[in-house]
């Protein structure tokens, strides 16, 4: 078996998603709260700001000329401060709030022009919603809450209970079907909310600040679970939040909103590295990069690796050729085994020992999605680089002290530039 060269990384290009046909397409969506929407819109077209319009007409321009497309299977985050129109936008998508103008195409059909009966069908079959304060019906058991949407559709009891129990097991509340909502904790309530939204098998999940009412620990747990669930169920999710860390963690793409308009749409990386205006720069300035950047963002490709069946001379040759002091050792299918140092290899050649006998196995290793803040403690003071190993045990890359310092330095520059 020969020596493998460096690995070419199969990072999923997100751009590919956009060529797929969109699930939701919003065109020129506008919403005015107040008596005289026409006048408010006229003022906006003549260049007045939201505040000026409110002062002059008493009308609130909650959304103005919002357009975007969402592709199947993506988590699309609407982010902005309170009053930026993100919740209004979300509620326009299932028409809990009636748009003043514009189009919202769901599966190619304009929801804005639907009659009540058609709208009900779309709400029942295509859209699920999760609310900030859980919004469980207090008079119904957990199971009856989960199956509310199915009950409204007229699905017989045994069928909907079967589905409801299945969903409760999926969100880890299999034993709580008969409980009343008041006896659940916040995190449990939102799991019920999630199960309820999924009961109708909707293509699209609308999540309105779904985790904002939870305490930080539970919140992180729910975020991880949502990502995990999304990997299995692959729905299209529109997630509203005011929390940038949450947006960066969950979003495939993020739309930043201000004063009822979208000012930038991009992947988390694009938002962070190429903020389109000063407002977004200020918004992202407070981000702690050590919590945002993950191991896969800063790691180097493994470079030369030695198969554990290869001889010590091969390892020596690799290190000499690449001018490094140690080399990672992998087994079958690039499963991570450990590392050998230059000195040990020389010593082993002299003593005639095998490569496997000198592999140092207690090299620190992390998962690709580990955050920088987790890695720093491992790398500081340790003599070896940290290995990045995926969930199947394969070596994906490594992180040296210099890689961490480089990432932190870039972060520092960015904060200074903004200040």
């Amino acid at each position: 078996m020969g020596v493998e060269g460096s690995v070419i990384f199969e990072k999923q290009p997100r751009e590919n998603l956009r060529s797929v046909q969109s699930v939701i397409s919003v065109e020129g969506l506008t919403r005015v709260f107040g008596q005289d929407p026409e006048r408010a819109l006229k003022l906006r077209r003549s260049g007045r700001s939201k505040d000026e319009i409110h002062e002059e007409t008493g009308n609130t321009l909650a959304l103005y000329n919002v357009s975007f497309e969402i592709v199947p299977g993506e988590i699309f985050v609407l982010m902005g401060l309170s009053g930026s129109g993100k919740s209004t936008l979300l509620r326009c998508i299932n028409r809990l709030i009636e748009p003043t103008g514009g189009k919202i195409l769901i599966g190619g059909r304009d929801i804005v022009s639907m009659d009540p009966e058609e709208l009900r069908m779309v709400r029942r079959c295509k859209l699920g919603m999760i609310f900030q304060n859980f919004a469980l019906l207090p008079h119904r058991t957990v199971l009856d809450n989960v199956t509310f949407g199915l009950e409204v559709q007229g699905i017989p009891e045994d069928e909907r209970y079967q589905k409801g129990n299945e969903l409760l097991r999926m969100v880890g509340l299999g034993d709580y079907g008969a409980s009343m909502p008041i006896h659940l904790s916040g995190g449990m309530k939102q799991r019920v909310g999630l199960a309820r939204a999924l009961a109708g098998d909707p293509e699209i999940l609308l999540m309105d600040e779904a985790f904002s009412a939870l305490d930080p620990l539970i919140r992180r747990e729910m975020q991880d679970e949502l990502l995990d669930l999304q990997r299995r169920l692959n729905r299209t999710i529109i997630f509203v939040t005011h929390d940038l860390d949450e947006a960066l963690k969950l979003g495939d793409r993020i739309a930043l909103m201000r004063d009822g308009e979208i000012i930038q749409i991009g992947t988390p990386e694009e938002i962070l590295t190429r903020p389109e205006d000063a407002y977004i720069e200020r918004f992202v300035a407070g981000v702690d990069m050590t919590k945002v950047l993950s191991a896969s963002d800063v790691m180097h490709h493994p470079g030369p690796v030695a198969q554990c069946t290869a001889g010590t001379k091969v390892a020596l040759h690799l290190m000499k050729e690449h001018d490094v002091e140690n080399v990672f050792v992998v087994g079958h299918e690039r499963r991570f085994r450990g590392l050998v140092t230059f000195d040990d290899v020389l010593e082993a050649i002299r003593a005639g020992r095998e490569l496997e006998e000198i592999v140092i196995t207690d090299v620190p290793s992390v998962a690709p999605d580990a955050t920088l803040s987790d890695i720093i403690s491992l790398i500081v003071g340790g003599p070896y680089p940290v290995a990045v190993v995926d969930d199947r045990g394969r070596l994906r890359g490594f992180i040296s002290q210099s890689a961490i310092l480089g990432a932190l330095a870039r972060n520092g520059e960015r904060s200074r530039a903004v200040a």
């Binding site: 509620r91 299932n94 809990l96 009900r120 069908m121 779309v122 709400r123 029942r124 079959c125 859209l127 919603m129 609310f131 900030q132 304060n133 919004a135 019906l137 207090p138 008079h139 119904r140 509310f148 949407g149 009950e151 409204v152 559709q153 009343m180 909502p181 008041i182 006896h183 309820r196 109708g200 609308l206």
Partner: protein
């Protein structure tokens, strides 16, 4: 004597009312007769039903009912039995059963009108705005005044007493139904809409159940007001314990008036506890 400086011509309010009453009697007499017959039948039927059961057995049934609805509150069940036995012992049983029949019929009629109107008022601001002054009028009017139209249209007896009681007991139930539905959190209304409920499903599966504790408070108020009206209604010939109190006052028979009054209080407490226990408890932690 002081003399008025200007003699205002007296407006013929009284004459107009008389003409109006005549007009109603002429064209709606059949309706009044119909209402009278139905109410008379309900009251008489319920009274007969209550009296058909021997007092000790009805006492046991009432105690058992209290025991069930209060989730096995043995003390309250015992007090219920004792209270009813006291009424029996005071030879007020027949009168008490008539009062109970009057109160229950009045309450049922009042709720049959006020809850649907409350629902309508909650769903429609125009109806709400139109009802509000009427309700204010009904609640500020001294209850004695209700007796006059009741007597004019229905004569003397149990039926006009029930009509006056219905008018008196209705407003709180209507207001609390309206309030309860309007106070349903907006997120729960959004849940109903977002999952594709029809307006009827939204009303029966979300709005009414969530508003139920408030609506039940209205029902309780309605019953209590109906009971408090029994003495007043006896002035236009409604029978029962109220009439006994009235006779006690007229004859300055303190003992007789007090005994009947005590019986009313016992019935009030029992009805109050039963309706309070029927209030849903899903907001309470165990």
């Amino acid at each position: 004597m002081e003399r008025d400086l200007v003699q205002l011509p007296k407006l013929p309010v009284g004459d107009i009312i008389v003409a109006f009453v005549d007009w109603i009697e002429q064209y709606f007499g059949w309706l009044l007769d119909g209402i009278s017959a139905v109410l008379g039948f309900l009251i008489g039927g319920l009274q007969d039903l209550l009296l058909a059961v021997p007092a000790p057995i009805l006492t046991l049934i009432a105690a058992a009912l209290v025991w069930v609805v209060t989730r096995r509150d043995i003390k309250l069940a015992g007090l219920t039995a004792l209270g009813l036995l006291l009424i029996w012992d005071l030879h007020l049983w027949n009168l008490a059963m008539l009062t109970l029949a009057l109160v229950l019929v009045s309450t049922i009629v009042a709720l049959a009108i006020s809850i649907p109107l409350g629902i309508a008022a909650a769903g429609n601001d125009t109806i709400n705005a139109a009802l509000r002054p009427i309700l204010d009028f009904m609640q500020t009017m001294p209850p004695f005044v209700y007796l006059i139209p009741a007597v004019i249209f229905f004569g003397l007896g149990n039926v006009p007493g029930t009509i006056a009681t219905v008018v008196f007991a209705m407003p709180p139930a209507l207001r609390l139904t309206n309030l309860g539905i309007r106070q349903v959190p907006i997120e729960l209304i959004e849940v109903a809409d977002a999952f594709g409920s029809t307006p009827q499903q939204k009303l029966f599966k979300v709005q009414l159940p969530v508003a139920l504790p408030t609506i039940m408070a209205g029902v309780n108020q309605c019953i209590m007001l109906a009971l408090s009206m029994t003495v007043i209604a006896s002035m236009i010939g409604a029978g029962g314990l109220g009439y006994q109190v009235l006779v006690g006052i007229q004859r300055v028979n303190i003992g007789m008036g007090f005994e009947a009054g005590l019986a009313i209080v016992i019935i009030a407490i029992i009805l109050d506890r039963i309706t309070q226990s029927l209030m849903p408890r899903y907001y309470e932690r165990q």
